[in-house]
């Protein structure tokens, strides 16, 4: 029999419903897997007592034929989400020992629907990073073996500083790695510039960033408020659809969330895509892109065509400007959002001579290098004399990017297909240490989607010659996540389910 941890979320749900397994058994299997995989550093806090209590309660409900759509299913939660009484630090030192008295809306909805919490997942500090290397709790290793590495090589790297092991991507690196390593059936993640889709692509998992406003941001530690959006990472398209159905919905506590009914996303998985018009934007064929990424893209086009979709070439002329504009807007908002971490009320406080000294000491020690860099960039671009030249122009670019998409959709395009990342996963310690822009370029295909507030989904579509997973990105119309699930299912079926690495880390 397959290990319970190898089940997809949908299969596990059915097994629970059919009483073939109990939630306690399923949960315990995941807790065991987590314990054996600690060296991967996916979880920053494990909550086994809570998990088993929740599982037991789920079993009672399941026995009565009751329970929600996620009843008894063990999930991992990104450390960005406030979980009552549990470690919630966005993997930053500045939130040292912070345990909220409240539960984020998204996680509250998961628990409402019966899900079981396994623990809190590692991430880039305040979601700022594309490799999970900026976490105060250290980097996360991907379960994928680096090309040409033996399991022994990998195990010894894992035992030391993890250098050379693959990054799972970021910022939702803990989520992606834990899902790929089968430490949880699915995980919450969040995406400000690609933080769901890039790690999903790097780890052979599926991730969706829904339309801005689809999920409540209440109780999610804010990075860039106008770009942040919650979403799931799971092992199949269907699993993502099931999770998003629970996470999404209007929340009066977040006035940027949208009061629109949440469709039954699972129904769109497997729905026909015949006649769907798929746009292929020429601007995403960037210079220096590996040929295998381009081949993957062509393959994706062919699969969708074979399933009855119509392929059209489109132009999104302002694509090039998205990344620089993003690195103005996001840090600007972050510089303000992170001002509340001042040592006065909660989290870390480093005493000082006076209040200013306390602020400076606390923030210097509490924030990591990348976070400090972005706070400084953000503060700079909002400063008198620079505001118009940077922030205002970036907002104008944002409007133009949005307009590019609007025109494409107005011309009849239903969704857009692009590569998810410009490369496969790279090694820990390999990128960005000299030039942060090298790291920022990871988001080149994903930031446009955040800037336009659109839904974007990353689905595995193939491998590099070295056997590392590669993903494609589907971009949809606002609030049309359903079309993305239908299209992604076609790609998943056509490419065949990813063969995830065996647990060499055990």
């Amino acid at each position: 029999m397959t290990q319970p941890t190898d089940l997809t979320l949908a299969d596990a749900r059915n097994a629970l419903r059919d009483r073939k397994i109990s939630s306690v058994e399923l949960t315990q299997a995941h807790l065991d897997a987590m314990e054996k995989a600690r060296a991967l550093n996916c979880f920053v806090a494990e909550t086994p007592v809570q998990a088993l209590a929740m599982a037991k309660a789920s079993d009672v409900r399941l026995a009565k034929g009751e329970g929600g759509v996620l009843e008894g299913l063990p999930l991992g939660i990104k450390d960005l989400y406030a979980t009552k009484g549990v470690h919630t630090q966005a993997c930053s030192h500045i939130l040292d020992k912070f345990r909220p008295e409240y539960e984020s809306t998204v996680t509250a909805q998961l628990w409402r629907d019966g899900a079981v919490m396994l623990g809190k997942l590692n991430m880039d500090e305040f979601a700022m990073g594309s490799s999970n290397e900026t976490s105060y709790y250290g980097p996360v290793a991907s379960p994928w073996l680096p090309p040409k590495w033996t399991e022994d090589n990998a195990r010894s790297a894992l035992a030391s500083d993890k250098r050379g092991l693959l990054v799972p991507g970021g910022s939702s690196g803990g989520s992606a790695s834990a899902v790929a390593a089968r430490l949880c059936l699915g995980a919450t993640a969040s995406d400000t510039g690609g933080s769901i889709r890039q790690p999903a692509a790097f780890t052979g998992t599926v991730g969706i960033k829904p339309t801005y406003g689809r999920c409540s941001r209440w109780g999610m530690v804010a990075f860039a408020s106008s770009l942040d959006q919650a979403g799931p990472i799971a092992r199949t398209v269907r699993d993502c659809a099931i999770m998003l159905g629970s996470m999404a919905g209007y929340d009066p506590k977040d006035t940027t969330s949208v009061d629109a009914p949440v469709p039954d996303y699972e129904k769109s998985v497997g729905a026909s895509i015949r006649g769907k018009k798929i746009g292929i934007p020429k601007e995403y064929r960037i210079e220096g892109m590996p040929a295998e990424i381009d081949r993957l893209w062509q393959q994706g086009i062919a699969w969708l065509k074979a399933a009855g979709a119509e392929i059209v070439d489109i132009s999104l002329p302002h694509t090039k400007t998205a990344l620089p504009a993003y690195y103005i807007v996001a840090p600007a908002e972050a510089s303000s959002n992170l001002a509340r971490y001042d040592g006065v009320r909660y989290g870390l406080r480093v005493p000082g001579r006076d209040i200013s000294d306390m602020y400076e000491q606390t923030r210097a020690k509490g924030f990591g290098k990348e976070v400090r860099r972005r706070i400084m960039i953000g503060t700079y671009v909002l400063s008198a004399g620079y505001y118009d030249a940077y922030y205002v122009r970036a907002q104008k670019i944002r409007t133009l990017i949005k307009r590019d998409f609007e025109l494409a959709y107005a011309s009849g395009v239903d969704a857009i297909l692009t590569p998810a990342t410009p490369s496969a996963a790279f090694g820990i310690g390999e990128k960005g240490s000299a030039d942060p822009v090298e790291m920022y370029l990871n988001d080149v295909f994903t930031v446009t989607v955040n800037m336009a507030g659109l839904p974007g989904l990353a689905v595995p579509a193939g491998y590099t010659a070295d056997g590392l997973p590669l993903g494609l990105q589907l971009i949809g119309r606002p609030f049309d996540e359903e079309t993305l699930f239908s299209l992604a299912e076609v790609i998943e079926q056509s490419a065949g389910r990813v063969t995830l690495p065996k647990p060499w880390w055990n």
């Binding site: 408020s225 006035t255 600007a332 001002a339 509340r340 006065v344 400063s383």
Partner: protein
């Protein structure tokens, strides 16, 4: 509004310096706490007092992941205020973040409105004296959060923070630089407070900090361009506003006349020492890095919503004053005094109803207000009700009591209470109009004072002496007209 009028120096306002006349130019930013049950972006109570940090929500304490949700009642209050200031209401406005670090500012930014305020230009008509009226332009009104309070007296080593006020809604009402004297500044704030209280959008209680003023002062030679201004922060009484203007203007004139120049800066008024002190210079000014708050969508509403609010506005002081002048025939000054407080105006109307309106105004303004002032009471706690005062006015007009006796009666009602009509009866205060009784008294006095009779016949103005004697004998209750008539006929003058 009316910038024409205000660009010309008003000669009566000029003040003399060693080098000639100077004109003071004043603009004000009033922070008025919105009357609402809960805060601008959270459900926490706005109740005054309470233990420190008793009225603090997760949003007010800026816990991670918390988001602001606009309080619709505060928006309605701002619109009502804008309507009361005869101002442009902007159906689309934007909340911005004003970023700075301070322990009583938990978010590290104040949510305010910077480029697109909810209310635009308007006008306030201000009676400076009984004979002088000015128009003061309103530049804008915007909504913003109040900060908490730092407590420095709780520990020898640490400062504490009370966040009860953190997030309470304020309206910042910015005037144009249309004021020209301390007196005008005081009158403007007084009028603004009257309007806010009529509207019920701010209680105007300066002692509780519900109304605070930042006063911008500059001086110039008449006709010259505007001088460099200094902003005097957080002046918290109308009297202090006047003092601060005078002191600051004199300071600036002194510097300029000594050949110096004014540095643009923020200053504090010290009422104890009667001086303003530098708080921070322009160079030390914060760079607030304003930008639109991404947690809040632009604030939008329909014109029909504004119209709906407008249709339920109470009668405002200017309209009420005009009506009092028109319907009751009151002089401008009296009408102005009566409408200063809505409760006074209502009181007056109850007294005036079906009575001599001018007499009613005299009684309310001169007797009642004077007496209330002396006791430190206000119209709401007046021991004399409008019905009681109306009863007194009725007794006078019916000739039952004289004006003089009425004052005694008023005093009894004020201190002891009771129905005026009954009091007049039981205390024998009724005016004597019975000529028989008056004649008897006159006869007695004439008989006892033959010398005076001779004098009076030679000099008719001596009549006053006789009147006094009769009144004395009748305990002031004799009808003065009747006494006069009887005396004249008996003395043959």
């Amino acid at each position: 509004m009316d910038s024409q009028m205000n660009t010309h120096a008003r000669p009566s306002k000029l003040i003399k310096g060693a080098t000639g006349d100077w004109e003071i130019v004043i603009g004000m930013e009033i922070h008025a706490q919105v009357s609402s049950n809960s805060k601008l972006f959270s459900g926490a109570s706005t109740e005054f007092g309470g233990d420190p940090n008793a009225h603090v929500s997760l949003v007010d304490a800026a816990m991670p992941g918390m988001l602001p949700v606009i309080n619709r009642e505060c928006v309605a209050q701002a619109i009502r205020t804008g309507l009361g200031l005869k101002a442009q209401i902007n159906c689309r406005s934007v909340f911005d973040r004003k970023n700075y670090f301070y322990p009583d500012l938990p978010q590290g930014y104040q949510i305010s409105q910077y480029k697109s305020p909810i209310v635009g230009e308007g006008t306030v008509i201000v009676d400076v004296t009984a004979s002088e009226q000015i128009q003061v332009g309103i530049e804008r009104l915007h909504l913003e959060q109040d900060a908490g309070k730092s407590l420095h007296d709780q520990s020898p080593t640490d400062s504490f923070v009370d966040l009860n006020r953190s997030g309470v809604a304020l309206m910042e009402i910015v005037s144009k630089p249309d004021l020209r004297s301390a007196e005008e500044a005081r009158a403007y704030v007084t009028k603004l407070r009257t309007i806010l209280r009529y509207l019920g959008t701010c209680d105007g209680d300066m002692e509780k900090g519900s109304l605070r003023a930042d006063v911008n002062v500059s001086v110039r030679k008449p006709g010259a361009p505007l001088g460099t201004r200094c902003e005097i922060k957080n002046v918290n009484s109308i009297r202090f506003i006047g003092q601060a203007v005078d002191v600051e203007a004199r300071r600036q004139i002194g510097i300029l006349e000594d050949g110096g120049k004014i540095d643009q800066e923020t200053r504090l008024f010290d009422p104890g020492k009667g001086e303003t002190r530098s708080m921070r210079s322009k160079e030390e000014a914060h760079d607030y890095r304003y930008f639109p708050d991404p947690d809040l969508l632009p604030l939008e509403f329909e014109q029909s919503y504004v119209d709906e609010l407008a249709s339920h506005l109470p009668e405002l002081p200017d309209e009420k004053k005009a009506r009092f002048m028109r319907d009751y025939g009151l002089p401008s000054y009296d009408a102005g005094v009566l409408v200063m407080e809505r409760a006074s105006a209502d009181y007056y109307e109850n007294v005036a109803k079906g009575r001599d309106a001018k007499a009613a105004a005299n009684w309310v303004i001169n007797e009642l207000f004077g007496r209330l002032n002396k006791e430190g009471k206000d119209i709401e706690t007046s021991p004399v009700s409008a019905d009681q005062l109306g009863g007194i006015v009725d007794l006078i007009s019916a000739g039952t009591i004289s004006g003089k006796i009425a004052k005694d009666l008023f005093e009894i009602v004020f201190t002891e209470g009771g129905d005026p009509r009954e009091l007049v009866e039981t205390r024998g205060m009724k005016q004597v109009t019975d000529t028989g009784a008056i004649e008897a008294a006159v006869d007695a006095i004439i008989a006892a004072n033959p010398d005076k009779v001779a004098q009076a016949q030679a000099k008719p103005t001596m009549l006053g002496w006789f009147v006094g004697q009769v009144m004395k004998q009748t305990g002031g209750k004799a009808n003065p007209q009747a006494v006069n008539d009887v005396l004249k006929s008996k003395l043959g003058i």
